[in-house]
Symmetry: C2
Subunit: 195 residues, 2 copies
Amino acid sequence: MPIAASAFRPVKLEHASRLINHGPTVLVTSAAGARRNVMAAAWSMPVEFTPPRIAVVIDKHTFTRELVLASGAFGISLPGTTLIDLTWAVGGASGRDVDKLARHGLVTVAGPVLGVPLLEAGCAAWLECRLIREPHAEDAYDTCFAEVVAAAADPRVFADGHWSFRDDNVGLQTIHHLGGGHFVHAGAVARANPA
Amino acid sequence: MPIAASAFRPVKLEHASRLINHGPTVLVTSAAGARRNVMAAAWSMPVEFTPPRIAVVIDKHTFTRELVLASGAFGISLPGTTLIDLTWAVGGASGRDVDKLARHGLVTVAGPVLGVPLLEAGCAAWLECRLIREPHAEDAYDTCFAEVVAAAADPRVFADGHWSFRDDNVGLQTIHHLGGGHFVHAGAVARANPA
């Protein structure tokens, strides 16, 4: 059964880093004027808790980079295990040639601050991001820095600032790309004990 | 039973990005003169396949940052699930006050190119890294860029350029920090099917 968009709940900005702290593969959404796109990105990380800032690698030759520079914003959505095939598919085609959102029947919601297109169905969470222009890092390392201006998550898997991976929410568990279309998902949880 | 250091085998540099592609929490090792340290870092990512380059967030107030700037190098080791408590412990104490490697009985091997201390026992892999000085990114985002100059892995969990997570190597599976000492490990594998 599709997951209703209304299932999402706001995540406090001071908890936003936790959404990608464990290294999930993400979908990067972007739009400028009538053009829009979605790409997969395995390479992202938080860089600051407060204000919440992240870094994500967006190759300078991609259509996404063009839209991000034009709009100064992008979305990060976290696909769950039911979107593994989709994630792999959107990582292997360019949005210059086809509207990948339309091709895959993806419905977006508008981010509350910047209006960035964001994905909810099948996703665990999203982060709406404002690009921080850093031309040198963008050019030399394809690394785009951004401030997270809003975040939300499906409370069945992330609530009150914490992930909860359980047998009953495998479909919403984050996926982590090993390479070549192989992913692990965040199912097996362990807790550190104080030394 | 402790894992013998000799179990490690070289990883081709073109496969180095795959070691951290899926977002594991890592241990950052460093040394300058007689001083040395180990810290935990959840925030790292590849930024380039060839030459293999990575980014890792090392707070400017840490002892590790001081040693990395002094030596121009650091090591990234990937703790397995048996080192969850250790990873949490070294993330919560400063190396200025105590030699954390000695306190926790950690034995290091010297990186083949730069002589950086690296961890093998209980770890899945390591990457020996040469810092690429980027003062602005280091200052504004605590983000340190580096080139990977050598890499190696335990062939029981990473061989021929690929991860293999199985029931018989749970102890070597990478760990991914959710926050607050909660980790997931890379156990449940799924493969994308072409669209």
